[in-house]
Structures are given as structure tokens and as C-alpha cells.
């Protein structure tokens, strides 16, 4: 058996591009205007009013937050809208030391997935109404020790005049301290 494969893989590595210079700045950023559709349109309007709205499928019993107008499991239209509570339980949380551009943040932020309460319903871990958001009131140690898992959190809303109809109308989900 001759030497292992691949034999002499090729490629020319380089460190910095000195010459030729082919840097193309993206001139005029492409601006998008996403249509929110039936479901998210109402979801965002609800956020402006300080409510978290969802849809439900009567056939399988699932509740969708963020809402959709179809149940992707039964493949039919949902049966109606409901209001989920703006509080719930932390399903998973992490501590970010870097920003979206990978720069170091001055102060780390906690982020996680929150399983929201819905009136009269229980959910297991398999499928539940949940959203990603910032978590405030949690220390680095709360996250590293995993104490934050299962903690109860409640939405901290911006003032009504500051809301624009966006997920950031909620500043963060605050840990509920007894």
C-alpha cells in the first residue's frame, strides 16, 4: 500500500492579497422590504400593542409562536389566534462575549430560548411556542452554572410610544426573582 490518500493535494495558500487588488466594496447596500405575510403582520402589530400573539391547530393541538397560518404537520389552515402570556421558562441560555461582527463586546449579554406560557396548556420539550431573545437579570455565573435553565422570565417591554412593531419592542426577558 503506497502512501495514504489523498496524495499530494494541491492549492496555493496566501496570507494577504498584495497584488493584484480586487477589493470590491459593495456599493449601495441592497435594501430589502420583506412582506410580513398574514401571520407575522399580525404578530408585529400585536407586539406594538404589548401582546405576544400565536395561532393554534385544533387537530393536533399545537400552538405556533411565532405564528404561521398553516399547520405544517397537519398541512391545513390553522383554526384561530390566541394570546400567549409574555412570560415563560428558559429552555436554554448562553452568554455572548462577541457582537454580530465578531468584535469583543464591552459587556457580555445573555441570550436564550424562552418557552412561553399559553393559557390552559402544557408543553413538553418536543414542540412548544418559543422565541429567541435577550435575557436580563442573569449573571455570567447563572449561565455557566446552568442555574438559568428552567428559570421563570417575564418580558420587559419598551414604553408604548417607543414600540415600532418589531421583536425588539421587547427589550429583554427579565428573570423573575421571588
Amino acid at each position: 500500500m503506497s502512501g495514504g490518500r489523498p496524495i499530494n493535494p494541491r492549492g496555493t495558500r496566501y496570507e494577504k492579497v498584495e497584488f493584484p487588488v480586487f477589493e470590491f466594496p459593495v456599493v449601495g447596500k441592497a435594501r430589502y422590504s420583506y412582506t410580513t405575510g398574514e401571520a407575522l403582520g399580525r404578530f408585529l402589530a400585536g407586539l406594538k400593542e404589548g401582546k405576544i400573539l400565536g395561532t393554534y391547530c385544533a387537530k393536533c393541538g399545537r400552538i405556533f409562536v411565532p405564528p404561521r397560518i398553516y399547520c405544517s404537520y397537519c398541512f391545513k389552515e390553522v383554526d384561530g389566534w390566541l394570546e400567549a402570556k409574555d412570560e415563560g421558562v428558559v429552555v436554554t441560555a448562553v452568554m455572548s462575549y462577541i457582537s454580530a461582527t465578531r468584535a469583543r463586546l464591552e459587556r457580555p449579554v445573555a441570550v436564550g430560548v424562552i418557552k412561553l406560557d399559553a393559557p390552559g396548556r402544557q408543553f413538553d420539550d418536543h414542540f412548544f411556542p418559543g422565541i429567541m431573545h435577550y435575557i436580563c437579570g442573569a449573571s455570567e455565573d447563572d449561565v455557566k452554572s446552568m442555574r438559568i435553565f428552567g428559570a421563570r422570565v417575564k418580558a420587559k417591554w419598551k414604553r408604548p410610544e417607543q414600540r415600532t412593531g418589531s421583536i425588539s419592542d421587547i427589550e429583554c426577558f427579565e428573570v423573575v426573582r421571588p
Binding site: G4, P6, I7, P9, R10, G11, V94, R102, V111, V143
Partner: protein, 395 residues
């Protein structure tokens, strides 16, 4: 013996494979990278471009190379001019989806010898940082306004897995150590680290706790290629064709905040599909070597469980006991995986398929696992925690 539920017109085999170097910055243009890998695969199979009748190309988001229809752009370098050529794309799962699509071409009887090429040039999207391209992955309405960094999702999944299974970072770091050391036997490897220890991983920069710098695979440029042939052709080309015994692929919802992150359901379903085809009902015993997708160290454990190679929450125990080392009972990622060899998104999965091909033939050199290999598995995963692709190969 093995019962196959499905009848195909033609059995399909892999008869050659090729790889370029994987590095963070390669000078070659995307077509040239595709050509380097394709030429090596053809040479290994003893074929020329004229012998190929169909071409399948795999490449991940156009936003990396910075060219529209980036797959078709590669056609010249992948031998796809004036031939039936298609490009497939399922995010990171593309690398294993490329041979799956190539399998369709041959199994249907439509093509006899197919060249399958995957390429990625991530270094083109240079400013502010290649990772920035991943911002397109988020839901623009309910997630992007929060200014997320991609690593958040992996950190959340990793932390949930750690919480559910009671796994410590030390156990997960063992995977990074194993793979970055394994990579030293791979000629294309970007990150061979022969002396890396668990301590090194735990002391590396914390990006998004619990994810640290040495838990992650690098961004890379690179290309890979394989040649597939029908049974008749394969026996003419080589004495040791490696048969494709099973394929599977599955997609899950992009609403990843609505489901349990501790277990990859989409991998399980894709694996089930492949195992059913291959007649495998006890993967832990019937798979001799596996290359699950490992862009992060915890992902190897996560996917091992999804593939049924370990029971839920058992994968870290197997790793700790050395079962997944090259000389262990179930070697995992003997190539060094994405953590060690590199992660040019689409080419990485195909690199794993090439590894299984060479392992089955006994041609993996230093990386050859100790136990005899009859059946191997490669798996890839992509997009927003959704797409799973699996391929089972052997003799």
C-alpha cells in the same frame, strides 16, 4: 442476510476521490479549485473527462464566493460543459447530498459514470468577516433585529445538550482534541495540532459561553470530488469499487425555537432511511467507521446519537472511554473531521465521503483505522439546524 426493501435498476459504486488542500485562504479561483479536486478523482479512477457522462456540483451560499449561480459557475472546472450538469445545495449538508444526487443519476440508468464535485471559497467574503455572511440565515423579521451572531444558535444547542445529558465541557473538549490530532495524518488538513490538550481547549477564547475558540472548525477554501459508476462500469474501472448501500436525507422546520435542541431528530430520520435501504438494524455493531459532521465538537456527540451509534446521552461516555479513537471499537472521524481538516462548507461533507471511500479500501495511510472496515457512514448537516444527509458505503 441483508434485506433490501427497494429495487433499483443499477447498483452504484464510488471508484475514485480527490481533494485539494483546505486552507483559510487559497489563491486559486473557484473553478480552479473544482478542477484540482476533479482531476485527482479522475486520475485515481484511471478515467479522463471524456469518460464522464453526467456531472453533479455542490456549493453552498453564493454569498461566500460572491458570484451568482455559483454552482454553475464552476461547471468548466468540474467538467460540466456540454453535459447534463446540475447544482445541489442544502447548506452544510450539501457535501453528502452531492453523492446522493449523483447516485440518482446512476441508479436510474440515466448515466453510467458521474463526476460529483463540491467546492467552497469562503475567503472571498472578506469584509468585515466571512462569518458575517451567516447573518442571512436568520429570520429577517423575528430574529435579525436582535443583532445575532451565528454562534449563538450553536451555543444554545450545545448548552441544552449539556444540560439534558449532564455533560461537562471537559468531555466535549475531548472530541476537539481527538479530531485535531487525527488531522495530522491528513495531507489536506488545515489545523493539525499534534499536542493539543483538553486544557488548551478550555483556556481558549470564550466566544459565546459555552462555545470557545478551539471548539469550532475554521472557515476554509477547498474542493473535493468523487467519481460514481454503475456496477458494470465500476467492475471495469477498478478491482475494489466501494458500493453505496444506503442514502437518506431529511429536512426539519426553520422554527428551531419551537423544538427540542438536545436531540437531532432530522439526523435520525435521514439515518433511518439510509439504514432501511442498506439493511442495517443495529448500526452500533454493523457500522465499522463513521464520519459524522463536526463543525463544533459537541456536534460529533450530538450526531452520533442521532445516527443511532450511541444511545441518547451515551456519546460522551464512549468518547471518554476511547471507543471513538482510530484504534477503538467504533472509530469516529478518523480523518480529523471539520475540526482538524477544515470547513469549506460544501466540500467538507464530500471530504468525509472520500475518507470513508479510502478507509474501506485500506488507502487512508496513517489514518487507517485498526479494525477491518466493511461498512462506513458519512453524514452532513446544514442550514438552520435543519437538513440532515446520510450515506452508507461499503463492500
Amino acid at each position: 442476510m441483508t434485506g433490501r426493501n427497494l429495487n433499483f435498476k443499477h447498483r452504484v459504486a464510488v471508484v475514485g476521490a480527490g481533494l485539494t488542500l483546505f486552507r483559510s485562504r487559497l489563491l486559486e479561483t473557484p473553478q480552479e479549485l473544482a478542477w484540482l479536486a476533479a482531476k485527482q478523482a479522475l486520475d485515481e479512477a484511471g478515467l479522463t473527462l471524456k469518460d464522464i457522462d453526467c456531472v453533479v456540483i455542490g456549493s453552498a451560499p453564493d454569498a461566500f464566493d460572491g458570484v451568482h449561480m455559483k454552482g454553475e459557475y464552476l461547471a468548466e472546472g468540474a467538467g460540466g460543459i456540454h453535459k447534463p450538469t446540475i447544482r445541489v445545495f442544502v447548506g452544510g449538508a450539501t457535501g453528502v447530498f452531492v453523492p446522493i444526487a449523483a447516485w440518482w443519476h446512476v441508479a436510474s440508468g440515466l448515466c453510467k459514470r458521474v463526476l460529483a464535485v463540491a467546492e467552497e471559497k469562503m475567503s472571498h467574503a472578506a469584509k468585515p468577516h466571512t462569518q458575517y455572511v451567516f447573518r442571512y440565515i436568520w429570520d429577517p423579521i423575528v430574529e435579525k433585529p436582535l443583532n445575532p451572531n451565528l454562534i449563538w444558535i450553536f451555543a444554545m444547542e450545545m448548552h441544552r445538550y449539556m444540560h439534558k445529558c449532564g455533560v461537562k465541557k471537559e468531555d466535549i473538549a475531548l472530541v476537539s482534541v481527538k479530531n485535531k490530532r487525527n488531522a495530522c495524518g491528513h495531507p489536506s488538513a488545515q489545523l493539525c495540532m499534534p499536542n493539543i490538550t483538553v486544557d488548551d481547549v478550555l483556556k481558549s477564547e470564550v466566544l459565546v459561553w459555552p462555545v470557545q475558540l478551539l471548539d469550532i472548525s475554521p472557515t476554509s477554501d477547498g474542493a473535493a470530488a468523487v467519481v460514481l459508476a454503475s456496477e458494470e462500469e465500476a467492475r471495469r474501472i477498478t478491482d475494489t469499487p466501494v458500493w453505496i448501500k444506503g442514502i437518506g436525507w431529511t429536512l426539519d422546520t426553520t422554527h428551531w425555537t419551537n423544538r427540542d435542541l438536545a436531540y437531532p431528530e432530522y439526523v435520525r430520520r435521514a439515518a433511518e432511511m439510509a439504514y432501511r435501504m442498506a439493511g442495517i438494524d443495529n448500526p452500533r455493531k454493523q457500522i465499522d467507521v463513521a464520519e459524522p459532521y463536526d463543525p463544533f465538537d459537541y456536534k460529533e456527540l450530538h450526531h452520533m446519537e442521532g445516527l443511532g451509534l450511541a444511545k441518547k446521552c451515551e456519546a460522551p461516555i464512549l468518547t471518554r472511554e476511547g471507543v471513538t479513537q482510530r484504534d477503538g471499537d467504533l472509530p469516529i472521524n478518523p480523518s480529523g473531521g471539520l475540526l482538524g481538516v477544515g470547513n469549506p462548507i460544501a466540500a467538507a461533507g464530500l471530504m468525509k465521503v472520500a475518507e470513508i471511500f479510502w478507509q474501506v479500501r485500506g488507502e487512508a495511510g496513517e489514518r487507517q483505522v485498526k479494525k477491518p472496515v466493511y461498512t462506513g457512514l458519512a453524514q452532513a448537516w446544514g442550514d438552520l439546524m435543519q437538513a440532515g444527509t446520510v450515506i452508507v458505503m461499503g463492500i
